[in-house]
Amino acid sequence: MAFSLRGVHVPHRKNTLDLPVVRMDPPGVVTIPMSMHIGAPARPVVQAGDLVYVGTKIGEAEAPVSSPIYSSVSGKVLKVRDFLLAGGGTTSAVVIESDGEMTPDAAICPPTVDSRDSFIAAVRASGIVGLGGAGFPAHVKLNVDPSRIEYLIINGAECEPYVTSDTVTMTDRREDMAVALEALKTHLGIKSIIIGIESNKPKAIQSMKQLMTETAQGCTAQVKVLPPMYPQGGEKVLIYHTTGKVVPAGKLPIDVGCIVLNCTTIAAIGAYLKTGMPLVEKCVTVDGGAVKNPQNVIVPIGTAISDVFTFCGGLTEDPAKVIYGGPMMGITLPDMDGPILKNTNAILALTVKEAKLPKTTACIRCGSCTNTCPFGLAPAEIMKAYDRRDAERLTELSVTACMECGCCSFVCPANRPLVQTNRMAKIFLREEKAKEDAKK
C-alpha cells in the first residue's frame, strides 16, 4: 500500500483509565431531546402528567433513518418543550421529574430474535445509535445485504485525549459484547471480526483478546493493536489500519465491505438482547482540569451536565470551556444545563490554562498541516483558496475528503484556523453545488 497515514501525538491525559466506574444517583429531573442521532427526530409520544418508568418509550422513530427514545428514569412527565441542540438547530425534548425509584417498565423483556429481520428490528427498537460520538442509528448500518459484509470492525481506538469510556467498556463489559457478536455472526453471517485498539490500553487489549478467542468459533476474530496516534479511531483510518482497505472519498465503509461499530455500541446491543432494556444510560468520562474528581460515571440519559459535575465533587474553578466529547473534535456548550445524550462519551470542563490557544499569526509555510493530515490534504492551500472563494481550486484540493479531525490546527505553529476553514470550505462547496443544480 502506498499510503502511510499520518497523524499527531496528542497528549493522552487518560486520567480516568484505572479508576472504578461509578453509577450516578438518579437525578431530580432529566431532559431528553428527541434528536440524539443522525436522521429524523423522534416524535414525542408522552404528554405532561404521564407516568413513565425506566425504559418506557417516550419518542417514536417514524422515518427509516431515526431512532426511538426511552425514559431513563421513573417518574412524571413535566412538559414537552423546545430544545436547542448544541450543534445548532432545534428539536423537542421531554422533561421528566424523577421519583428517585428507578422502577423499570413492567413491559421490558428480552426481544425474540430468530432471523436477520428480527435482529435488525431489535437493534432499531433498542434505540442504539453510534455511541462513539457520531450517533448514526446502528440498525441502518446493519441493514445491508449480508453478502456485502466482509469485515466487522470494532472501534476501540479511543484516540481522543481524556476520554476513556470506551476503554472501560472493553474491560468491564466483555460479556455484553460477546452476546452481540454471537448475534451478529448468526444473523448477518459475519465471517471476520477485527477490533482495533491503541497500544496504550493494555487492559482493554487483554480483555478483547480473550473475547476474540471466545468468539473465533466459525469466524476469524482478532485484536489489532494500533500505535497510539490521533486520529486512529477515525473510521477510514481504522479501516485502513485494520484491513488495508481504502474507502474512497465520499463513499461509505460498506462500499469496501466493512461495517464499523464502536465497542460501546456493541456492548449496548448485547445488553439489549440479554435484558430488553433499551439504551437509557451511558458511561461518560467526566474530566478536565476544573473537575474535582475525574472519573467514569454511568449516567441516565437526559441528566443535566451540571448534575454530573456535582456528582463528581463539583468544579474547583470556573471552566473556560465545557465540551461534549474530546478536546480534538468535541463541541463546546454555552452552559451546563444541557443533558447527557445517547452519543455523549465524555464531558470535559477545561480550565483557562488547558483551553488556552496561542495567537493566530501569519502562515510560515512550514508544511506541518499537510505533513500531519492523515489524508494528505493541504490545509494551508485550502485556506488560500477559500479566502478567495475559489470553488474550482477547492475541488481540486479535495477538501470534501476532510474528516475534520483537527490535526492541522493542532500542530500549526501560527495557530491558524485550518480545520475550521476546511469545514467552511465544505459548506461553501455544498452551497455552490446547490446553486448550480438550481440553475439546471
Binding site: 499510503f3 499527531v8 477510514k236 474507502v247 451540571s306 473556560a320 468535541g330 501569519a362 499537510t370
Partner: protein, 309 residues
C-alpha cells in the same frame, strides 16, 4: 456557578508549537556556529553578526511602525535573518555594508513582499548575493587570502589538499564567519533534527548531491570530494538556509527535489561558473522554483483518484 463559557469550534487544545518557538530553536542551533566564528575570526566577527541582527530586527520594527501593522519582531524571524546574514559575511566586511545588506534583506526581500511567510526568496541568501554583486569583489577581497585557495581554486583540483580534512572540519580556513566550522554547523543540524524543526531531506540530499558530483569531478577521489563539501558555504546553506520553511517545498518529495537541484547547481557553478562559490545562487534559484516543486509534489489525497480499493 456564575461563569461565561467560551464557545468555539474544535480543536480545543493546541500542540504548543509556535513560530517564535521554532525561530528560537534556529537561533539556538546557530549559537555553536556563531561561537566558532568568533573564536576563529575574533571579536569583529561577533560585531558583524550582532550588527546584522540588530539592523534586521530594527528595520522590521521600523517597517511595522511606519506601515502601522502589528509588530512582528516578536516572532524572532528577523533575528534569524540577521544572524544568518552576519554568518554569511567575512569578519572584515565594512560595517556600513552590513547595514545596507540588512536593509535589503528585511525591507526589500521580506517586508515589501508582505512580511513573514510571504517572501519568495530567502532574505539572508538574497542579501548575501546582493552584497556580492553590488559591492563588487567584496566577498572575495574581504576573505583572508586562504579562502581563494579553497573555494576559488578547488575546482581546478589539487589545491584542496592544501588543507587537511581535520582543519576543514574544525573550520581552520578562510571564509565567511559562520560557514567554516563544520563541527559547529553539524551540532546545530542535530539540534534542529532532534527538535523536529527541520527534516533530513534537504540537507542530506543537497550535501549528498554535491559530494557525489564532486567525487566524479575530482577524479574519483573520496578525500577531495569530502573536502568539497567542507568548503565554501555548503553546510551553512544546506542546513540553515535551504531549509527555510517559507522558501522551500513542504512535502518530503519536494524537499528531495529541492536538495538535488540545489546540489547540482552548486557543483555546476563551482566548476564552470565565474564565481568561486555557488551555494547562495543555487538556493536562490531553487527558492524561485519552490512553488512549482510544491505543485508537482502535492500529497496524494487518501481515497481520491487512483485505483479503487
Amino acid at each position: 456557578m456564575n461563569t461565561t463559557l467560551k464557545l468555539a469550534v474544535s480543536p480545543h487544545i493546541h500542540s504548543g508549537r509556535s513560530t517564535a518557538g521554532i525561530m528560537r530553536d534556529v537561533l539556538i542551533a546557530l549559537l555553536p556556529a556563531t561561537a566558532a566564528g568568533t573564536i576563529l575570526f575574533g571579536w569583529r566577527a561577533l560585531l558583524v553578526v550582532s550588527l546584522c541582527t540588530a539592523c534586521c530586527v530594527g528595520f522590521e520594527l521600523l517597517f511595522n511602525l511606519i506601515t502601522k501593522q502589528d509588530l512582528t519582531v516578536g516572532d524572532l524571524s528577523a533575528a534569524v535573518t540577521g544572524v544568518l546574514l552576519g554568518l554569511n559575511l567575512p569578519a572584515n566586511v565594512p560595517l556600513w555594508q552590513c547595514v545596507v545588506g540588512s536593509l535589503f534583506a528585511i525591507i526589500v526581500v521580506k517586508c515589501l513582499f508582505g512580511g513573514i511567510g510571504c517572501n519568495l526568496v530567502n532574505p539572508a541568501i538574497t542579501a548575501r548575493v546582493f552584497m556580492l554583486v553590488a559591492f563588487g569583489s567584496m566577498a572575495t577581497q574581504a576573505f583572508p587570502t586562504m579562502v581563494d585557495a579553497v573555494s576559488g581554486a578547488t575546482p581546478l583540483g589539487g589545491s584542496v589538499t592544501d588543507f587537511s580534512l581535520t582543519d576543514l572540519f574544525l573550520g581552520l580556513r578562510g571564509g565567511a564567519i559562520g560557514e567554516t566550522c563544520a563541527l559547529a554547523l553539524l551540532i546545530g543540524f542535530v539540534y534542529l533534527l532532534v527538535r523536529r524543526v527541520i527534516t533530513w531531506h534537504v540537507p542530506v540530499t543537497f550535501v549528498g548531491t554535491v559530494y557525489i558530483l564532486s567525487f566524479f569531478f575530482e577524479g574519483m577521489d573520496f578525500d577531495h570530494a569530502l573536502a568539497m563539501i567542507l568548503s565554501g558555504g555548503l553546510l551553512l546553506g544546506a542546513i540553515f538556509m535551504a531549509t527555510d520553511y517559507v522558501t522551500s517545498p513542504s512535502t518530503a518529495a519536494g524537499k528531495i527535489i529541492f536538495g538535488l537541484g540545489a546540489g547540482l547547481i552548486t557543483v555546476l557553478i563551482r566548476y564552470f561558473g565565474v564565481y568561486p562559490e555557488g551555494v547562495s545562487f543555487a538556493i536562490l534559484l531553487m527558492n524561485i522554483l519552490t512553488p512549482y516543486i510544491d505543485a508537482w509534489t502535492k500529497h496524494k489525497v487518501f481515497g481520491v483518484g487512483g485505483k479503487k480499493a
